[in-house]
């Protein structure tokens, strides 16, 4: 697609439920990144994919968080047994590895609220 698409844009869930957040990167972008942004704060790195593999999972805050990417395209971030501290905006970005103009393109994010 023309940009990075994330869905849903907003999600309200009850504490203890599982949620799935979806990211559809720019077509052809081989690298995909997930970040978390709490209210009024900076970007917290979660996980990075190169193709379908995740060389860097160091930012996942607990084993309740997992992510996968299939077909080198769409990625899903899953949060199990959600807690109130999981409330944040979850941002996805993609980039074309090897492009000398190396910036990420971000989606608009999914705002997750755990009640």
């Amino acid at each position: 697609g023309a940009g990075v698409s994330q869905s849903p844009s907003n999600k309200v869930t009850e504490k203890g439920k599982d949620v799935e957040l979806r990211c559809d990167p720019i077509s052809g972008h081989t690298a995909l990144y997930w970040y978390r942004q709490s209210l009024g704060q900076g970007l917290e790195f979660l996980i990075y994919f190169q193709g379908n593999s995740a060389p860097d999972k160091s930012g996942l805050p607990s084993d309740r968080f997992s992510a996968e990417r299939t077909g080198g395209s769409v990625s899903t971030l899953t949060i199990q047994r959600t807690q109130q501290e999981d409330s944040a905006v979850y941002l996805c970005a993609s980039s074309l590895v090897g492009d000398p103009n190396y910036g990420y393109t971000f989606g608009s994010g999914t705002r997750l609220t755990v009640v």
């Binding site: 009024g40 704060q41 790195f45 990075y48 980039s95 910036g103 971000f106």
Partner: protein, 112 residues
Amino acid sequence: GESVGLHLPTLSVQEGDNSIINCAYSNSASDYFIWYKQESGKGPQFIIDIRSNMDKRQGQRVTVLLNKTVKHLSLQIAATQPGDSAVYFCAEKGDAGNMLTFGGGTRLMVKP
């Protein structure tokens, strides 16, 4: 770069004045730097970039300055407008791997 998770510093400027947003980066081997702008409810958007073989680059109303000696990056916005109100992030790309490392962000507020 600054630690993530801290509350954002804020810069407040009068409409029409010039703004300067600063960033200290961490890796002396970083070779590429980017400034992003994030408006409320949106993802960060690319503003301007600079490579390490340059010390200044200009765009439309924006200028990025790079001082590699002290590992400092700044974003200058000329004639700041209300539409410039946003959070601004710097990012650096190191000499190994494909990751960008983001600074903690600065909130710019423009007073009419």
